[in-house]
Amino acid sequence: MKKNDFILIAIILVTCILLSAGFRLTQRDGRTVRITCNDNILGDYPLDENNEINVPYSNKGYNIVSINNGSACVTDADCPDHICVRHPSISSTGETIVCLPHKLVVKIID
């Protein structure tokens, strides 16, 4: 490990901390979640109403988005990796859950 490697690590850590802090400061509690599939906006849903939305992908895929207690998450999907299902619930503005194979974006917009 050369000296420059440690400098690099330090710079990266500092940048990360600054970025994180910046993001946190600009985030607020969200009120509406927007579901987008393949760049088409499917709908905006309020976070204070519990809801379950089945989002189909062409004619052979699906994701189920659930809204519960002011936060949204993906509770079920038939994509190959299931990263969207394992993602923790989102509730602050700007947070997103994506399903890359199904081109699904669940985003808190306000």
Binding site: M1, K2, N4, D5, L8, I9, I12, L13, T15, C16, L19, S20, F23, T36, D39, P80, D81, I83, C84, V85, R86, H87, P88, G94, E95, T96, I97, V98, L100, P101, K103, V105, K107
Partner: protein, 177 residues
């Protein structure tokens, strides 16, 4: 100091071809083994990338830059085609090409050790994938993942870098006649 023996061109070329075969096969198997143990967090693109040990070794030990690109790209294509994930292959492809370019540049400047190059590669790979996802999904909001992906790339880079460093020492020792 051991002498640099000038090997005939044919032997050099044969050596290079066999290194390609071994490297691509090894990188491919690393990718497969890694896919058997998925990390259980919900963020796409976070992984150790053990296959990058092979690519990093190629960058450090080979004098031709095309070697690293060839092995990296062929590995991504092989993994994508074999495991049937052509749509997500695009993300891996951009990530790998950007990362390999960044690592080659880092190696050229001579400023960083193996671990530093690996860190640069890991972070560039993740940022490349993030940018690709932003473009394909038309969502700039994905930028919120940047701190997480940078840290993930950093940690993976350090681990891979240390492992590769140890391997490189042994390979250099064993190729001195």
């Amino acid at each position: 100091m051991t002498q640099q023996i000038q090997r005939p061109q044919q032997i050099q070329r044969a050596h290079r071809i066999s290194m390609y075969g071994v490297s691509i096969a090894l990188a491919f198997v690393f990718s497969y083994i890694e896919s058997l143990f998925p990390l259980n967090i919900g963020i796409p693109g976070v992984k150790f990338g053990f296959a990058n040990i092979v690519i990093l070794l190629t960058i450090c030990l080979s004098s031709h830059i095309i070697d690293a690109y060839a092995i990296a790209v062929v590995r991504v294509l092989l993994v994508g085609i074999t495991f049937g994930n052509i749509s997500t292959m695009l993300y891996a492809l951009t990530g790998t090409i950007l990362a390999t370019t960044a690592m080659l540049i880092a190696k050229k400047t001579g400023l960083f050790g193996t671990t530093g190059i690996s860190i640069i590669g890991g972070i560039t790979h993740n940022i490349g994938q993030l940018i690709t996802a932003c473009i394909i999904l038309s969502t700039e909001g994905l930028i919120y993942y940047l701190p997480v992906l940078i840290i993930a790339g950093l940690i993976a880079g350090i681990v891979i870098g240390i492992i590769t460093d140890r391997c490189a020492i042994h390979i250099r020792l064993s190729t001195k006649e």
